[in-house]
Symmetry: D2
Subunit: 151 residues, 4 copies
Amino acid sequence: MDKFLPKSNNFSTRVKDSFARQTAMHTLGIYIDTVQAGEVTLSMPYSTALSQQHGFIHAGVITTGMDSAAGYAAFSLMADDAAVLTVEFKVNLLSPARGDRFLFKGTVIKPGRNITFTEAKAYAVNKGQEKLIATMSATMMAVVGRDEIKG
Amino acid sequence: MDKFLPKSNNFSTRVKDSFARQTAMHTLGIYIDTVQAGEVTLSMPYSTALSQQHGFIHAGVITTGMDSAAGYAAFSLMADDAAVLTVEFKVNLLSPARGDRFLFKGTVIKPGRNITFTEAKAYAVNKGQEKLIATMSATMMAVVGRDEIKG
Amino acid sequence: MDKFLPKSNNFSTRVKDSFARQTAMHTLGIYIDTVQAGEVTLSMPYSTALSQQHGFIHAGVITTGMDSAAGYAAFSLMADDAAVLTVEFKVNLLSPARGDRFLFKGTVIKPGRNITFTEAKAYAVNKGQEKLIATMSATMMAVVGRDEIKG
Amino acid sequence: MDKFLPKSNNFSTRVKDSFARQTAMHTLGIYIDTVQAGEVTLSMPYSTALSQQHGFIHAGVITTGMDSAAGYAAFSLMADDAAVLTVEFKVNLLSPARGDRFLFKGTVIKPGRNITFTEAKAYAVNKGQEKLIATMSATMMAVVGRDEIKG
C-alpha cells in the first residue's frame, strides 16, 4: 500500500482524542491498537453481550469496528481544522465472527481534499491465529467549518 | 412493494424467538415494533452510550439496526428449517443520526431459495417527526442443515 | 419521493447536451426518454452485441445505463458551473437482463453541495410488461473549476 | 492472497470458451490477458466510442471489464457443471479513466459452494505506467441445473 503524508503534525493525538469521545467504542469494548498516518488498527474482545442469534458477534458490531478504523485512518491524514464523516460503506461478511477477540484494520486507499477512499478488514483471533472474516470499502468526507461537527 | 408469501405458518413467532436470542439487540436497546411477512420494523431510543465523537449515534449502530431489520424481513419468508446469514450490505449515511429515537425498517425486495435481496431504511424521530437518515441494501442467505446456525 | 429544485434554469438542455457528448451512450444504443429535475429516464433496445455468455445483456451494460441515469439525475439539480462525476455505486442484479428493451430510471435521494445521493432502477420490457431487474445506489460529486471536467 | 484449487481440470479452457461467447466483450474491445485458478486479467485499449462527456472511458465500461474479470476468476474455481452469475457488486471510482489502455484484474477472495466473494481492480496504462483507477468487490453465485444458464 502507498504511504501518505499527514497534513497535521499532531495526527496521532487528534485520532486518540476523537476516539476517546466515541462513547460507542467504550460501550462495545473497542480500543486503539495502533495509529499510523493513513492506517489505524482497533481491537475488541469477544462478548456475549454483542452476539447475534447463533452466538457470533453481530455483523453490525463488526461493521462498527471497521467503520471507526477506516474513519480514523482517513482522519489521520486530514488537516487540523477538519472533522470526518462517513458517506457510505460496503461490507462483505466472509465468515461468522467467532473468536476470542477481533481486529479492525482501516487503511486509506486514496486521500482527497473532500473525499477519501478507505478500506477496512476485520480479523477474528482464535488462540493467536488471525482469520479474515469481513471486508469494508468506505467513502469518508472531510468536514470543515460546521460547528456541530469537530474532530 | 410486492407482497410475498411466507413459507412458515409460524413466521412471526420464529422472528421474535430468534430476535430474543440476539443479545446485541438488548445491549443496544433495540426492540421489535412490527413483524409482517417480508417486512420488519425495529426501534431504538437515543443513548449517549452509543454515540460517536460528535454526539450522534455511531453509523455502525445504525447499521446494526438496519441489518437486523433486513435480516428478519428475509427470515420471515423462509422455511421452518432455514436460518439466515447476512452475505453483504451497502449503507448510505444521508444525515447525522440525531434524534430522540430511531426506526429501522427492513423490506424484502426479492426472495429466493438461497439468496434474498433486501433493503432497510433508518429514520430519526424528533418530536414525532420522522427523517430518513440512512439506507441499506443487503443480500441475505438461507442456511439449512448447519448445526451451529439455527433460526 | 421528495421533489427538488434545480439550481439551473436550463437544466434540461444541460443534461441533453452533456449526454450527447457521452459517445458510450451512442455505442450502446442508449438514449434519453425523459428529463425532470432530479429524475432522468433512459432507454435501450436489446442487442446481441451487448450480451454475456447466456445471451442476456451484460451486467456491466445495465450498470452503464443506470450510472448515466443516476448521474444525470444528480446533474439536473446542480449549478451552471458544475460538472458531475461518479464517486461510487452499488448494484444488485435481481434477475437476468432478458427483454426487448430496457429502461434506466435515475432519481436523486438527497442533493448536496458536494455530494448527491442517488438511486437507479433498471427494468426489462417484454411485450410491454416492465420487470425490475437491477437496482443501483450511487454517490455523485459536483466538480467545479477543473478545466478538464465540464458539464 | 491465498491460492485456491480449481474443481475443474479444464478451467482455463472453460473460461476462454465462455468469454468467447460474451459478445459484449468483443463490442467493447476487451480480451483475455491471463487465466489462473482464481485470478483472471483482461485488457482493453482506449476508444473514443466508449467515452463519457469528458472524454474518459465511461465508468460503466470500466465496471463491465471488472465484472467479467471477477466473474471469470470465480468461474475458474467452479465445478464442470456450474455456470456463474453476478449477484451484486460495489465499485469505487478513484480516478478518471484516462489512458492508452486498461487492465481489469479479478481475484477470488473466498470461494464457496454457492457464493464466491471476489475483488477486481482496474488500472489505466499510460506510456507503460499503470495507475489504479477503480476497485470492485463482487458476489458471484454458482448456478447448476438451469438449462438457460450454462458456462
